[in-house]
Assembly symmetry: C2
Homo-oligomer: 430 residues x 2
């Protein structure tokens, strides 16, 4: 039998997001993180970076390229913008849903060009997101990040790069015009002030725009560290049973004590702990000196009629279910239970919270942590159910710009291995 | 076996929404519609109306009650506000998630009282939503609506009521202070201008607030009319088969022609038609003179391994599944298919679109239309799978304030009856 692939996700009029703002206002990080979020929640989203196209025509040597009177360069910049739009057009015609145009779109004329291209010719919707910053600390921090991350500054020393960006901004200031609430009243736009402190919204239109706003209202583009751990080994782990609500084993309690020592020694200010509502995650968090929240969406995958069984028992009692699960572990739902896709969907508010927070320890379960890590690490959804999230290990995640760095901190407390590889042959001959 | 009730919905720190604004700014309609939306998407939300408490202490006779120098009245108003907050407190302690305080909260002092009560004492989050209107048409329209809908004006003639509200607003203007971005910078708030034309957002915090913002960015508090119809009778309907993608029957085509006549005669300006992606809804829309969109989320409930079978065949081949479905039709999922709850979830963006639109004809399927109507009519979720949505009938929905009015317009084209009552006894003895 062919599996009916469930997506449950809609297809609406495609959306083009035009980023607006001076260099250093955080457009690129916002664009890429937005793309990641949209992709993870089931949409086809892609970033088209105008500077990427520009670099194909021109090796960047310095800010003179951006002088208003540099006519040659202006030609290249226009051409690059057009190429980015044309590629976005092709991609949308191929089924793309949300194209994010990462450029400065710093004049009314350029915004009108983009708007006409996509709204009038292609019947897409267009949303401008303007990034504005008047907080000096945030701005300096962003500009420093550009010197480290942008391909333009790969071969320039930091001091020189910093100076170059400031000069570049000066050139832009000669012609930059923020979105005008009167002259540009017919556009849909969001003004994103000081990295999310204030947001103003004009004339949102359509489900993709609602989704983008939901992300933006949680997005805080800061460097941050998050910690993840499964609960310590449980009594059910020892018995090979899935689900349930058992206590920690003796070894599980030992891990909980070491985990608490680790965080109590670090004494991170404003540390928070989030667990599921299951006993085994609560017990694991017990000795950490930090406020603890118990969240339903962090509960383990609900195995429905198979809760509390071993894999052998499932195979014996429900052979068809067992075979189906191996065939498509991402989409398979236990009767009266959940699939990995269901978890991804119920985790969405938690992921948005994590986008806003710093220094959180999430103590949860194998399937749930696979989904959370998959989000941060851009894992292909089909691979998510096979990510390795071993027991008795802290996973430390640090974000820089739109990249994530992961460390596995293993604790030497023996435990069972709950990883089950995908079988080579999946028997679904019923 | 006890059914594991799946909710898949999170429980986070409770939220109190404090509405802010002068009379006539649309707070009550916004509050009630927000409550309906949140409830429908699986949250426990309730409106606490300060004026409701006030009416328990005082029979409204006129605007003098709201004079700034009316000390007796001020006592009653304070007491009513406190009672509303205390009831909200009790309800939150009983498991309520989002309490909406419908009052004017027109001074910094009152807002601080509310904030301290819920944030400092109860550790809830508080979000203020300030409704601001400077568009005279919208304002006059709102004020007219109050004379028709408010209990204060039930026994007053319209002219007198209109004058009374204007006087009442004048009293409020003596002390009303909009939320101040400087002095009240520590609050989370949304300013909702001119019924949604512009929205500004400060410091949103948490998943419920994101959800509220998503609704507000789509909410347009206008009188409007929406039309719903199932596709005409299909070949599969004739055979008693579920799902699939068959053509209309001869009688189905006849209905499509009459449906088109109906709308073409009405010649409603800016009419839009939304269908699912199935042949039978597209064929039903074919002759209507209006632009047509085909939307995936309007597709019929996916019956997974039972697609294309008759109920008799399902009962024979999958007796356990058949019995389970009767036992809990709202939550039951066909293997590799969907439940009604899944439809409710995938319809969310469509419902938000419908909140913004006027004059849309939605041509879809039995289960999907049950879910859409259930939303507009405040149907208990468990009753949704049993709502009657007959073939060959237009359902016309008109909204006034936060109420909906429904008309069934039946067409005299014979068709099969696809309604299946809930059996008295559900056999799930496996």
């Amino acid at each position: 039998m062919d599996l009916l692939k469930l997506s449950g996700r809609g297809q609406f009029v495609p959306l083009v997001v035009g980023l607006v703002g001076l260099p250093g206002r955080g457009k690129t990080v916002l664009g890429h993180k937005l793309q990641k979020y949209l992709t993870w929640t089931g949409h086809r989203a892609r970033v088209f970076s105008v500077s990427g196209y520009r670099r194909k025509h021109h090796d960047y040597t310095g800010h003179d390229f951006f002088r208003a009177d540099n006519e040659n360069a202006m030609e290249i910049r226009k051409k690059s913008h057009l190429e980015a739009m044309q590629d976005a057009e092709r991609w949308i015609n191929d089924g793309g849903e949300i194209a994010i145009l990462d450029g400065t779109h710093s004049t009314m004329a350029v915004r009108q060009t983009l708007h006409n291209f996509f709204v009038k010719q292609l019947k897409c919707k267009v949303l401008f997101i303007e990034c504005l910053i008047d907080d000096k600390d945030i701005l300096e921090n962003n500009i420093k990040e550009i010197t480290q991350l942008s391909d333009d500054y790969r071969h320039m020393d930091t001091e020189k790069a910093l100076d170059d960006i400031h000069q570049k901004v000066k050139h832009y200031l000669e012609h930059y015009k923020p979105i005008c609430p009167k002259a540009e009243i017919s556009y849909s736009y969001i003004k994103f002030h000081n990295a999310g402190e204030n947001i103003s919204v004009h004339h949102l239109d359509g489900p993709y725009q609602t989704k983008v706003l939901g992300y933006l209202s949680n997005f805080r583009p800061l460097r941050k560290t998050l910690y993840f751990s499964r609960h310590g080994e449980s009594e059910f782990n020892l018995l090979g049973r899935i689900g349930g609500d058992s206590d920690l084993s003796t070894r599980g309690h030992k891990y909980a004590a070491l985990l608490a020592n680790y965080f109590n020694d670090l004494a991170i200010p404003n540390l928070q702990v989030w667990t599921s509502e299951k006993t085994r995650t609560k017990q694991t968090a017990e000795e950490i000196n930090a406020p603890v929240d118990n969240l339903v969406p962090l509960n383990e995958l609900n195995a429905g009629i198979c809760e509390g069984l071993t894999y052998e028992e499932i195979q014996e009692k429900f052979p068809q279910e067992f075979a189906w699960r191996d065939q498509d572990k991402l989409r398979y739902r236990y009767p009266w239970g959940e699939s990995y896709l269901d978890i991804i969907s119920r985790l969405e508010p938690v992921l948005l919270e994590l986008e806003r927070e710093d220094n959180v320890v999430v103590i949860s379960h194998q399937a749930v942590l696979r989904c959370i890590l998959g989000y941060f690490l851009n894992t292909e959804p089909d691979q998510v159910p096979y990510l390795k999230v071993p027991l008795h290990t802290i996973i430390k995640l640090t974000t820089v710009g739109y990249e994530c760095h992961v460390d596995f901190i293993e604790f030497k407390v023996e435990c069972v291995d709950t990883y089950r590889k995908r079988p080579e042959v999946c028997n679904t001959s019923q």
